[in-house]
């Protein structure tokens, strides 16, 4: 296995984690809420793909996007009363929603995992020079880059994107200018959902075994990435997600086969080191003295 091979795989996984992290960051930006139940969006998408296994691809994709978007908008409604509460209340509530949804999945589908077969042909490998790369890796890189760029463009160029950025920087002033909190929050959930649904499709190709804790297991490292990157800025949160995915893939390749069980240990050791050196996050920056007299 060459270094390049490892890098390509790591970039692909990094981009998928970046998508998940960006979704968490988008919602946090406008609502100051860390949505622990973000993973259940992925789980919902994965079960939607599972239930439409035998149907045409288009139906499966529509079901996945539909389920994730519907659940995200429902979460927005449930979280609405939290806007005026403390961060602790928010955090505990999103935890509760996460566990509730996992329990619902457990009741509905049972604890045993089932395999999603959608787009499994993407697991075939293609040779590029000396490299043997699975199609899903290439598609993940392409789709990941596309979605990150598209989201950046929406935030930079559209009116609602500008309002989201303003609300994330200074919610009170945004409100005083007439920005509707409900509009930007709903749009953030919508954007996060679309991106999560795309990530789900690509993730289920690589990890087809769907269980009630499918998304939860993915979101924990993504959340760690968000914190490592820096929660207060969308770019740093997304980069943090990328870094965690990238590090996971690299460690998975570098560690000897019998050392793989220590992957999480190695990863969290890395996280502790990063936070010791840069408590504000790897990509967080010290605030410039903006206020001028």
């Amino acid at each position: 296995m060459t270094v390049l091979q490892t890098l390509v795989d790591a970039v692909a996984l990094g981009l998928l984690y970046a998508l998940v992290a960006m979704g968490i960051g988008l919602v946090f930006g406008v609502m100051r809420l860390v949505n622990f139940a973000h993973g259940e969006l992925l789980t919902a998408g994965a079960y939607a793909l599972l239930l439409t296994n035998d149907m045409p691809l288009a139906v499966g994709l529509a079901a996945c996007f539909g389920a994730v978007v519907a659940l995200a908008l429902a979460m927005e409604v449930v979280y609405r009363p939290l806007r005026t509460t403390t961060p602790t209340t928010m955090l505990v509530t999103t935890f509760a929603v996460s566990f509730l949804l996992q329990a619902v999945a457990l009741l509905a589908f049972g604890a045993r995992g089932r395999n999603v077969g959608v787009l499994s042909e993407l697991n075939r490998a293609v040779s590029i020079g000396d490299l043997r790369v699975r199609w899903v890796t290439l598609v993940s890189i392409g789709v990941g880059a596309l979605l990150l760029t598209a989201t950046a463009l929406v935030l930079a160029r559209t009116d609602v994107g500008l309002q989201m950025r303003a609300a994330a920087m200074d919610a009170t002033t945004a409100q005083l200018l007439g920005v509707r909190a409900s509009t930007v929050i709903r749009f953030a959930f919508l954007l996060a959902a679309v991106v999560a649904a795309a990530a789900t499709v690509l993730l289920t190709v690589q990890r087809p075994l769907v269980t009630p804790s499918y998304g939860f297991q993915l979101v924990i490292p993504a959340l760690v990435g968000v914190v490592v990157g820096g929660l207060d800025r969308l770019v740093s949160a997304t980069l943090g997600g990328f870094a965690i995915g990238f590090a996971t893939a690299v460690l998975g390749d570098v560690l000897p086969a019998d050392g793989r069980v220590f992957l999480d240990t190695a990863l969290f050791l890395l996280v502790i080191l990063v936070l010791l050196v840069r408590p504000g996050g790897l990509f967080g920056r010290t605030r410039a003295a903006w206020e001028r007299v």
Binding site: A166, M169, D170, Q175, L176, L177, V179, A288, V293
Partner: protein, 238 residues
């Protein structure tokens, strides 16, 4: 007295049970400029935030063009034609000057004529055009104040609330800001001007109320602008 744009009747505001404003009654007629001065903590900013629907009144009422604002959200009040230039400007330092102005457009009732209004504020404050692609945070304090006023004006308000536009600015810069405000007033915009530095407000406004300890103490006319003894006395509760 022209017909009333803003009426505040017996307003009481409390923070955690402690009164910040008590029994405040005042009226701003259409096209008028009314000043509200007083020492720090007198309740001036709280009054403006109550008009914007950010602080719920404990007692009393606020009427805009005769209609009570009680229970209306800030976003709706903005769209009824009220714009606030907040204390310390609160521009978005990381956004460009142009993006800051675009955010001002959010509160418009209609996008018709928006580009004319953008041209108009650019004529009034050339910096918003000259520096449009720069981060607002790199502007000087005076330029940031101009941007904050321009951002409020592009919402095309009928009533402009200004919270300490002179704060932190050198006197020469303040003169420039007030020259621009004179043009805004000439354009028919009603203004409620809050100032800690009373001399700026008293000379500019048609009437200036002195607020101390949450209560109205005195009303001054432009003729009193030179009478610093009277202003000082009102501040210190004579």
């Amino acid at each position: 007295m022209p017909d009333a744009m803003l009426q505040i009747r017996d307003l009481e505001l409390r923070y955690a049970g402690v009164p910040a404003v008590r029994g405040l009654t005042l009226e701003v007629g259409r096209g008028e400029v009314v000043g509200l001065v007083g020492p720090n903590g007198a309740g001036k900013s709280s009054t403006l935030l109550a008009i914007m629907g950010m602080v719920p009144p404990y007692r009393g009422e606020i009427l805009l063009e005769g209609r009570p604002l009680a229970g209306r959200k800030t976003e709706a009040i903005v769209r009824s034609g009220v714009a606030l230039v907040p204390e310390r400007r609160h521009i978005f330092p990381e956004l460009t000057v142009e993006e800051n102005l675009r955010l001002g457009l959010v509160g418009r009732r209609s996008r018709d004529g928006a580009s004319d209004d953008l041209d108009r504020v650019a004529a009034l404050f050339p910096v918003v055009r000259d520096a449009r692609h720069r981060a607002a945070g790199v502007l000087s304090g005076g330029q940031q104040q101009q941007l904050a006023i321009a951002r409020a004006l592009v919402a095309r308000p009928d009533l402009l609330l200004l919270d300490e536009p002179s704060l932190g600015l050198a006197p020469a810069v303040v003169d420039g800001v007030f020259e621009a405000l004179a043009e805004v007033r000439a354009g028919g915009v009603t203004i409620l001007l809050v100032e800690q530095r009373a001399q700026f407000a008293v000379g500019f406004a048609d009437r200036t109320h002195v607020l101390a300890n949450g209560e109205l103490r005195l009303t001054l006319s432009p003729a009193d602008a030179g009478d610093s003894e009277r202003i000082t006395a009102a501040y210190f509760g004579a």
